[in-house]
């Protein structure tokens, strides 16, 4: 064998022998969760450098947002993180409501929290399914999808869609729950805590799973903060930062739940955080359902909500109008156009901190809509996370930070 090596060395030259080896991983690799391309520089099996290349799913959502009215933009936010689209809708609606100074009715707030937490469970289930499948655990994939299907069926009853919900609207939500949905959700919250131990039986102490995840992709809390990681990826490194707790929005300050934190900072810790979060989300849904019974029959949309119709342009002669800008959007209800100004609202979506920065010039459409997508920030952390790791560990690292390319490329 050494003889053969000598011959090869002679053929390709002594200098090239020590040169790094370059590999393109993706954009069509099934383990890159979409269309992420990683340009890897390898030294044998070890990664010396990694370059994420993005933009394969760019649809210009931020620019499109400037050509749509505020209400129509809700449809665009569905397509950001399409695994948990209700959470994106809520984040966007909160930003517009803050800009307009709208007060959302209590019942609508509770309904929003419920769909947000359902989205969190649905997202984490899909994450666990694909992450486990990447590492090699096929059975978990099937079990997770079985439970996600249940949630999607409930979503279908709530708003008529399974993936792109468009459920909240500016000033509230579009439809109230039916008694059947509440019944079904009670059933789900009772059954789901029994389902989580099933996944844990399969992978929690499984030696293959432990070997693939423990001590892989380690990141310290300080570095995670510096890289801008948020959500479970940050909490896996022991940083206590959850927007639902630190900057409570909606009715999160009234709810009793714990922040899931682990301290190791490796792939396994991030997995534990998400498993814990699913349990906490289940608890939140349960509490919200109880709260829902207290405000039975209340409206789910603010009375001064702009409705789906918003004027696209500014009023033509604002200086000539004797009154402040007013348009009649719904018969008999006077609604001001969105005032000038800018606003940044961040919400805790399953992937991390999703922020919407809206700049308004007084017209019915945003002058600028900037989206701070957690996946985009998380992808920038991949080079640091997988430096010095083996090629096979990249799969675990990409899976553990939970990226969705629809949100990253926008």
């Amino acid at each position: 064998m050494p003889q053969a090596l000598e011959i090869i060395k002679k053929q390709i030259g002594e200098d090239e022998w020590d040169e790094p080896y370059y590999v393109n991983m993706g954009p069509q690799h099934p383990a890159t969760h979409g269309v992420l391309r990683l340009f890897l520089e390898l030294d044998g099996e070890y990664i010396t450098h990694c370059d994420p290349i993005i933009g394969y799913l760019h649809r210009g959502i931020e620019k499109l947002g400037e050509t749509f009215t505020y209400s129509q933009n809700i449809v665009l936010t569905d397509r950001l993180d399409y695994i948990a689209s209700a959470a994106n809708n809520v984040g966007y609606c909160l930003a517009v409501e803050k800009l307009m100074g709208l007060e959302v009715p209590r019942r609508a707030q509770i309904l929003r929290v419920i769909v947000c937490e359902m989205a969190r469970i649905a997202s984490h289930l899909l994450w666990l399914a694909t992450h486990a499948l990447d590492i090699g655990a096929m059975t978990v994939f099937l079990y997770c999808f079985r439970d996600r299907e249940w949630l999607l069926n409930i979503y279908e009853e709530i708003c008529g869609a399974r993936l792109t919900h468009t459920y909240p609207c500016i000033g509230g939500v579009r439809l109230d729950f039916t008694p059947h949905i509440i019944e079904e959700l009670y059933k789900f919250t009772e059954e789901f805590p029994n389902r989580i131990p099933e996944y844990e039986t399969l992978i929690d102490v499984n030696r293959i799973w432990l070997k693939r995840t423990k001590g892989v992709g380690v990141i310290s809390g300080e570095k995670a903060v510096n890289l801008g990681l948020t959500g479970p990826s940050l909490r896996g490194s022991g940083v206590r930062y959850d927007l639902r707790k630190t900057v409570p929005y909606l009715i999160y300050d009234e709810l009793d739940f714990e922040m899931a934190v682990e301290y190791e900072g490796d792939v396994y810790a991030r997995y534990r955080v998400r498993m814990k979060e699913m349990r906490e989300s289940n608890k939140i849904i349960r509490q919200c359902l109880d709260k829902l019974a207290e405000c039975e029959g209340e409206p789910v949309i603010a009375e001064n909500a702009p409705g789906l119709f918003m004027p696209f342009d500014k009023p033509k002669r604002p200086q000539a109008a004797p009154h402040p800008k007013k348009v009649y959007l719904i018969k008999g209800v006077e609604v001001p156009v969105v005032p000038e100004g800018d606003v940044y609202v961040a919400t805790e979506v399953p992937k991390g901190e999703l922020g919407f920065y809206l700049v308004s010039d007084g017209a019915g459409h945003p002058w600028r809509m900037r989206i701070r997508a957690p996946s985009f920030v998380h992808i920038s952390a991949i080079p640091d996370l997988c430096k010095g790791q083996m090629v096979a560990d990249i799969i675990a690292v990409i899976g553990s930070i939970d990226i969705v390319l629809g949100e990253c490329d926008r």
Partner: protein, 178 residues
Amino acid sequence: MGLIKTVFLTEIMKGLSLTLRKLFAKPVTIQYPEVKKEPAPGFRGRHALVRDPKTGKDRCVGCYRCAQVCPSRCIFIETERDPNTRKRIVTRYDIDALRCVYCAFCVEVCPVNALVLTEFYEYSGYSRDELYFTKEKLLQNWDEFIVTQKRPYFNPFWKPRGVPEKMLPGPKRKAEGI
């Protein structure tokens, strides 16, 4: 991991026993082409124009609200005035289903509930023309859909649950099933 656990593969045995138990559980898979999933009421599927049982025609009044609110701009309407009665006649009502994003904004804003996203979901086609619905096709969609439904049929977006009545236009407040 202790020595006994390492040697006897306890955790793997536990996992295997779980999958073995699941072998005898009721399957969750739906054998799709043979068994069809019943969509929930209000599922946003194929478009249809409601055929009014009284007049036998569509209800559209040509107010252009659906076309205006549509985020993907896939509704095309043309109207003209009747020279004698000065009433608006809808001469063209087209929906390009391939551009539609199924948000049901159009159904929600329609003041006379002329439009509906039916619960029918099996309508793939071999060409683009098949999925470009003209007014006749939309009415035909409704006829095909309504025979499969329990009467009276009522779409949740015709009168959204929990929305105060005074926020709805008049005909929507009085909306009834067909």
